[in-house]
């Protein structure tokens, strides 16, 4: 089913019997648990395009199947962007899919992830209820924030139909500094860059270098890049090197077996030790980790509660989730309320529910 309007989506959800699998562009089809093969598929890609955009308000509302890359191009013509640079965006990842997987990229250092950018949602629940939360203004505390609840829900609570996002200005200039260091040294390097109060928008360790990216006015980014080198050895990258360095960061997500995990920042060296390759927003403690196999995933799960499986080789029986963390019982209770018949995303959170 590929509904093109909210009404069609509502009807499709309500009038179809049995399990339903919500699909966007399929760029994260392999994330989390393997969905039940019996489920009828609801494709969201027919729900595309902007519904409201007033650049001066710095907010935009889009249908959930809109590819973020397409949206970025639209916003760019107004000098704006969504400050979300998840690796799968260029491959066509939809706004709804990025929210449902709570995916993010190096900009999480300064802008957070979907939870910090979504200001309103319209969702369709398994029984056909259409509900809205949040709104079209950035500051808003009226009612519960269901937009955040749906972050990381992997299509198991309802179908995102429309998402309202806050936008940010596109920076006039950017500059990246590469500071070669290992994972242990990275902690000190991060501390020095932050203590210099130069406000990098991204601070990402990948392939043996800490990358500090600055955004702002042309002369300001130049001077901040140079100032970084007063405290740490490294080089200011030219635009080609800069693009290449950030391309390597997003490449990590394409390795055969990948998990995303959240830790205290100072636990990064432990994470790196178990990785074949890793890209890490070190200062916030969010790591995208390529591993050799199940043993390494287990090792990470033994130490950390919040580990999400993002990619595994076809046919792999690597479990999607580890031991249940403290709030899994609450997740089950929420699931029970939103989808009592258990129709949506069957298998996504197996073995938790």
């Amino acid at each position: 089913m590929r509904p093109a309007t909210l009404a069609e989506l509502r009807d499709a959800v309500r009038d179809t019997d049995g399990p339903l699998l919500v699909c966007g562009a399929g760029t994260a089809a392999g994330w989390a648990g393997t969905p039940s093969p019996d489920a009828a598929r609801i494709e969201t890609t027919g729900l595309a395009g902007i519904t409201t955009y007033n650049p001066d308000d710095m907010t935009v509302a889009v249908r959930a199947g809109t590819p973020l890359a397409w949206l970025q191009a639209e916003l760019a013509s107004h000098g704006q962007r969504i400050a979300l640079d998840a690796a799968r965006v260029p491959a066509g990842g939809t706004v709804g899919g990025l929210v449902a997987t709570a995916d993010s990229g190096p900009l999480r250092h300064s802008h957070g992830g979907p939870r910090d950018l979504v200001i309103g949602v319209t969702v369709v629940l398994a029984d056909g209820t259409v509900a809205r939360s949040g709104g079209h203004v950035i500051k808003n505390v009226a009612g519960y924030d269901l937009g955040k609840l749906f972050c990381g829900s992997f299509g198991t609570l309802g179908v995102l139909a429309e998402v309202v996002l806050r936008v940010h200005p596109l920076p006039p200039a950017t500059r990246t500094v590469a500071l070669p260091c290992d994972a242990v040294e990275a902690l000190d390097a991060v501390g020095r860059v932050l203590a210099a109060r130069l406000e990098p928008v991204a601070l990402e360790w990948c392939d043996g270098s800490l990358l500090a990216r600055y955004e702002g006015g042309p002369s300001s980014v130049e001077r901040r890049a140079s100032a970084t080198l007063l405290h740490s050895a490294g080089t200011v990258l030219d635009p080609t090197e800069e693009a290449e360095a950030w391309r390597r960061v997003s490449e990590v997500s394409d390795e055969p077996t990948v998990v995303r995990c959240g830790t205290r920042p100072d636990q990064f060296p432990y994470v790196a030790k178990h990785a074949t390759r890793v890209t890490s927003s070190v200062a916030v403690g969010v790591h995208t980790v390529a591993v050799a196999g199940a043993a390494e995933v287990e090792r990470l799960r033994a130490e950390f509660e919040h580990v999400t499986l993002c990619r595994r080789p076809p046919g792999s029986d690597l479990p999607a989730w580890g031991r249940p963390h403290a709030s899994v019982p609450l997740m089950r209770a929420v699931k029970q309320q939103f989808d009592p018949a258990g129709r949506l995303g069957v298998g996504r959170f197996a073995p938790w529910f």
């Binding site: 939360s133 006015g217 901040r224 919040h306 609450l330």
Partner: protein, 481 residues
Amino acid sequence: MALTDLRDKLVADLGRDGVIDDPAHLRTYECDALTGYRVVPALVVLPRDADDVATAVRACAEHGVPFVARGAGTGLSGGALPTADGVVISLQRLRRIIEVDPANRRAVVQPGVTNLDISKAAAAYGLYYAPDPSSQQVCTIGGNVAENSGGAHCLKYGFTANHVLAVDVVLPDGTQTRLGGDAPHQAGFDLLGAFVGSEGTLGVVTAVVVRLLHTPATVRTLAADFDSTETAGAAVTAVIAAGIVPAAIEMMDNLAIEAVNEAVDAGFDPDTAAVLIIELDGPADEVEERFAEVTAVCTAATRVTIARDAEQRARFWRGRKAAFAAVGRLSPNYFVQDGVVPRTRLGEALARIAAMADEAGLRVANVFHAGDGNLHPLVLYSEAAGEHERAEALSSGIAELCVELGGSLSGEHGIGTDKACSMPRMFSTDDLETMQRLRAAFDPAGLCNPGKIFPTPRLCGERPGPYRPHPLESAGVIERL
């Protein structure tokens, strides 16, 4: 009966000095800073740690008695308003800063710690806690989490929700759990995000892990006078549209300035129609470049005063932060409203508010977070002169105007008791029932801070105000169905 049993149980478990039941003392818990609503609770408990909180909550659950958490009681929406047959759980004894971890730039604190004390404890490391409600000397981090509180600098830095990594919570059945984790990546639903801003209706916070930021390298502040609130509003839009993200843009209108000047020596021009306080912070080069752009954008200003030093900047802010209290000098009574409009409609909103005030024959002072479109109209009135009802109607009319202009009923003070009956203006029955599903997952018995956020027949009359389509819906811009 249940209450007597409950009291005996609580006294046995928490000790005699952990339970208040004498009427005179109970009365000090009858309201928060929205003093128009008062209900004396049946009991107040003063737990000393998370286990005490769990004990108290479990006892309430077993006895079927409603309870409400209370921090400093500075809430402005009646969020901590007790029920007459219920228990207040005061977190005032849980005020320990458990840990400041400079290497990981975070702090772990008990819920009764004040917002400002976190920054004070972090200052030794050059760090601070960013969200800065004007009440920050008094209000607690637990209250901030419950309300998703904001502050002047949230324009650049975001709200409480963006700065909390995890919370330890006693759920309404008395079990203890943790929401969130060591980093902003959660395996599964963002329950932390759903909890922050839930106004004490999903559980009681017993510890909070907050992010700390390095204090900015440079701060530059100016005050720009304008000959009308509309031109000031247009300047706000122009600054933002130029791609600048100031740390703060605050506006005060003439009436607010008058009050502030009388209360503190802030030095604002008493004759100006509106003043904007614009602050930029960050790396020196970036701030200088952008500050020049801001000054250039403020061409419509009649005067621009650039704070020459930290002392003058502090004076501007003293004035701004004293504004609510200062308004008390202009009028025996006032209501503080809190609504949000899309920033581009600020001028229109202010003009309509002025017209509504004229019609009601009342004065409204405006002092607010202009960069966020977050209005705080202060409706001045006199109880003695019998103006209460007219003022209340004007105040809720203003909140509903915000919804009509495509905004929100509340930007930071919460819905609480105050605006529960206005919720159907902003949300349909299905929207509200869907939110209630979250509530039911956390609190199936409905004992945790009942009567807040959601309209009830008891509070709003049998028929709460009808849902009217959102204006964007009427315009065909957003679709419901």
